[in-house]
C-alpha cells in the first residue's frame, strides 16, 4: 500500500530542484493572503506603537508608524492612574481559580458520563447540554439579583463560581466525555483487575490519559475568564476589585473621553503575556479551540 504511493507522491511534489517554480505558483495566493493579514495584524502593531506615543502624536497627520521617541512613561502613568497592578492580579487569580474549578468539575462529570452507567444518565446529559445553546446573558439578571440577596455583590465570588458551572464548564464536560468515548478502556479495565478502586482508576489512570483534552480545557477556560467583561461589569464596581477588562475601559477623563495613550499602554500590557504564550504554544492553542469548536 505504502510502496504504491511513493512514486505518486514524488510525481505530484517534485524535489528541491523545482521548488523555485513551485514558489512562483503560490505567489498570487501568498500576496492576497498578505493583504488579508493587514486588518488582523495591524491593530496589534498600531496599539503597541500608540502605547509609546504622546497624546498629541497619536492623531498626527500623516500618521507616524513609529513613535518619535519611546515614551515609556505611558506605562508608568497607567499604573499611577488607577491600581492597574491590582487589577492585573485580580484577573490572574480569578482566571486561575476558574480554570482549576472547571477542570475538577468537568473532568469528574465528563468521565462519569462517558464511562459509568447509572440511571437517568442520558437525561441528565442532554439536560446539561441544552445549556450550550443558551446565551449566558439570559440568566445574568436573576444571578445578579440572587448575588445581591446573598451580599456577594462587590466580591469576586460570582466571577469565580458562575463560570465554573456555566456553559463554558458544560462545554468542557462535553469535550472530556468525547475524549473518553473515543479512548479504549483497556487500561482502566486492567487497573480494575489489579484491584484499584473506582476513584483510584479515575484519579491515577483516567486523568493522566486525558492530559491532552485537559490542556485544551485549561487554555480555553483561562482565556474565557481572562477576557470576560459583562460579569465583572455587573458584579463589581469597587475600583480595587476591578478586573483587567474593567480597568482598560476605565482609562478616561471625567468627560468619558479615553486617555488614549494610557489606555493603549495598558491594553498592550494586558495582551502581551497572552500573545507570548500563544506564539510559543501556537499549535497547541489553535488545536484546543479547534477541538472545542467541533461539537456537532
Amino acid at each position: 500500500m505504502n510502496a504504491e504511493h511513493v512514486p505518486h507522491l514524488t510525481a505530484t511534489y517534485p524535489g528541491r530542484k523545482a521548488s523555485g517554480r513551485r514558489w512562483l505558483r503560490w505567489l498570487p495566493l501568498f500576496v492576497i493572503l498578505l493583504i488579508c493579514c493587514l486588518p488582523f495584524i495591524f491593530p496589534f502593531l498600531w496599539m503597541v506603537s500608540g502605547a509609546f506615543k504622546t497624546a498629541a502624536e497619536l492623531f498626527a497627520s500623516p500618521p507616524n508608524l513609529l513613535p518619535d521617541q519611546l515614551r515609556w512613561n505611558n506605562f508608568v502613568e497607567a499604573f499611577e492612574y488607577q491600581p492597574f497592578a491590582r487589577h492585573y492580579f485580580n484577573s490572574l487569580y480569578i482566571a486561575v481559580l476558574v480554570t482549576l474549578g472547571t477542570l475538577i468539575v468537568a473532568s469528574m462529570s465528563g468521565y462519569a458520563f462517558a464511562r459509568i452507567r447509572f440511571p437517568l444518565r442520558s437525561v441528565l446529559f442532554i439536560g446539561l447540554l441544552s445549556a450550550l445553546m443558551m446565551p449566558v446573558e439570559v440568566t445574568i439578571i436573576p444571578n445578579f439579583y440572587f448575588m445581591t440577596q446573598l451580599n456577594l455583590i462587590n466580591t469576586h465570588l460570582p466571577l469565580i463560581i458562575l463560570p465554573i458551572f456555566g456553559p463554558n464548564s458544560i462545554a468542557a464536560m462535553f469535550l472530556i466525555r468525547q475524549f473518553f468515548l473515543a479512548f479504549p478502556r483497556e487500561l482502566e479495565e486492567a487497573a480494575m483487575i489489579d484491584g484499584l478502586t473506582r476513584w483510584g482508576i479515575f484519579w491515577r489512570i483516567a486523568l493522566p490519559i486525558a492530559r491532552p483534552v485537559l490542556a485544551a480545557v485549561t487554555i480555553t477556560t483561562f482565556l474565557y475568564s481572562w477576557n470576560a467583561f459583562l460579569e465583572p461589569l455587573v458584579f463589581v464596581d469597587d475600583l480595587q476589585l476591578f478586573t483587567l477588562s474593567l480597568s482598560l475601559r476605565n482609562f478616561r477623563d471625567t468627560y468619558g473621553v479615553p486617555l488614549w495613550n494610557l489606555q493603549l499602554a495598558a491594553t498592550t500590557l494586558s495582551i502581551i503575556p497572552i500573545l507570548i504564550v500563544y506564539l510559543i504554544a501556537q499549535r497547541q492553542v489553535i488545536n484546543s479551540f479547534a477541538s472545542s469548536g467541533i461539537k456537532g
Partner: protein, 318 residues
C-alpha cells in the same frame, strides 16, 4: 438477662439487612453511586446557577420589579405588552439585532471558508498566516474594541487616513448610524473569523485527498471539485458553524459596550446591550427580564430551526 435475650436476634436481623443494603451493595449499585458522586457538582451547579435563574427570569418578566424603586409586584404580561406596543425602542432594537446578525453571519462564515481553503494548500508559510488570522480570537473583546475604536476615530483615525490615501473621504465611523453599524459588524468579524477558519481547516484536512484527486483525474475543474466533493463533505461542519456563529452574534455585549455603547442615536443598540441598559442602568429588572426571555426564545427558535433543516439540507450525516 431474660429481657435482652429476645432482642438479640432482632439486632442481628437489622445488621443483616444493613449488610445487604449498605455494606455490600451490588457492583452495579456501587457504580451508579460513584457516577452520581462524580456528576453531582456539575448537576447541582447547573441547577443553582443556570436552571433556577432561567426559571427566575421567566418569573421576573411577569413582575414590575425595579431595584431602585424596590417594587416587586406581579403584573402579568404587562412587560410583554409594553414591549410590543408602547416601547418605541424595542422595534429599533429588534431591527438592529437582525441587521447585525444578517450582516455578520454570512460575512464571517464565507470569509472563514475562503481563508480555510486558501490555507489548505501546500503553500509555504500557511501556518504563519493561520496564526495571524487566529490571533484576534484569543485577544479579549475589550482590547480588540479599544484598539479599533482608536483606529476608527473621525478625521485623524488610522482607518480614515488610510482611506484618504486612496482618495476616499471616510465617515466619522462611530458617530454616524450607517457607518457605525458597518464598523461594528466588520470589526467583530475580524475578531472571530479565525475560529471558524480553523474549524473549517480541520474539516478540510479530514477530507481524504484521494477523493478530490480522483475527481480532478475524472476531468472536473477545481470549481466543480469544490462544488461536488468538498462542499457536501464540509456541509455538516458548515452547518454547525453557522448555528454557533448565529448564537454568538447575539452575544456581542463587550464589542458594543466598548465601541459605541449602542449609539449613535441607538443605531447599534442590539438586544444584548438593551438588556444591559434596562437592567443595569435603569435597574428595571422586570422589563429587562422580559427582554432576556425574548433573547432566550430567539436562541431556542434558531437552534430548533437549524436542527430540523439540517436533516433536510445536509446530505451526508454520520
Amino acid at each position: 438477662m431474660t429481657s435482652t435475650h429476645p432482642a438479640a436476634p432482632q439486632s442481628s436481623g437489622r445488621a443483616g439487612w444493613l449488610r445487604f443494603r449498605l455494606i455490600a451493595p451490588t457492583l452495579q449499585q456501587r457504580d451508579s453511586l460513584f457516577g452520581y458522586l462524580l456528576i453531582a457538582p456539575q448537576v447541582f451547579g447547573f441547577l443553582i446557577f443556570v436552571l433556577i435563574p432561567l426559571i427566575a427570569v421567566f418569573a421576573f418578566s411577569l413582575q414590575d420589579r425595579n431595584l431602585l424603586l424596590g417594587t416587586e409586584d406581579p403584573v402579568g404580561l404587562r412587560n410583554y405588552i409594553q414591549l410590543f406596543s408602547t416601547d418605541p425602542l424595542f422595534p429599533v432594537v429588534l431591527r438592529n439585532t437582525l441587521i447585525f446578525t444578517v450582516g455578520l453571519v454570512p460575512l464571517n462564515v464565507s470569509l472563514a471558508l475562503l481563508l480555510a481553503l486558501a490555507l489548505n494548500t501546500r503553500m509555504r508559510g500557511s501556518t504563519v498566516f493561520r496564526a495571524i488570522f487566529f490571533a484576534p480570537v484569543i485577544t479579549s473583546g475589550v482590547a480588540w474594541a479599544i484598539v479599533w475604536r482608536f483606529m476608527l476615530q473621525g478625521d485623524d483615525g488610522m482607518v480614515n487616513q488610510v482611506l484618504a490615501v486612496v482618495g476616499v473621504n471616510g465617515p466619522n465611523w462611530l458617530f454616524e448610524p450607517g457607518p457605525a453599524m458597518a464598523a461594528v459588524i466588520v470589526t467583530r468579524v475580524l475578531k472571530n473569523v479565525g475560529l471558524n477558519m480553523i474549524i473549517f481547516l480541520a474539516a478540510l484536512q479530514n477530507i481524504p485527498r484521494e477523493l478530490t484527486e480522483a475527481s480532478s483525474i475524472d476531468g472536473a475543474n477545481p470549481r466543480q471539485t469544490f462544488r461536488r466533493i468538498t462542499l457536501p463533505l464540509l456541509a455538516p461542519t458548515l452547518f454547525v458553524a453557522v448555528l454557533v456563529t448565529f448564537i454568538g452574534s447575539l452575544q456581542v455585549f463587550d464589542h458594543i459596550a466598548l465601541l459605541t455603547e449602542g449609539g449613535p442615536a441607538n443605531a447599534t443598540m442590539v438586544l444584548i446591550y438593551y438588556i444591559y441598559y434596562v437592567g443595569f442602568r435603569l435597574f428595571d429588572i422586570g422589563y429587562a427580564s422580559a427582554l432576556a426571555v425574548i433573547l432566550f426564545f430567539i436562541a431556542l427558535f434558531v437552534t430548533i430551526a437549524f436542527w430540523f433543516s439540517r436533516r433536510v439540507l445536509v446530505f451526508d450525516e454520520r
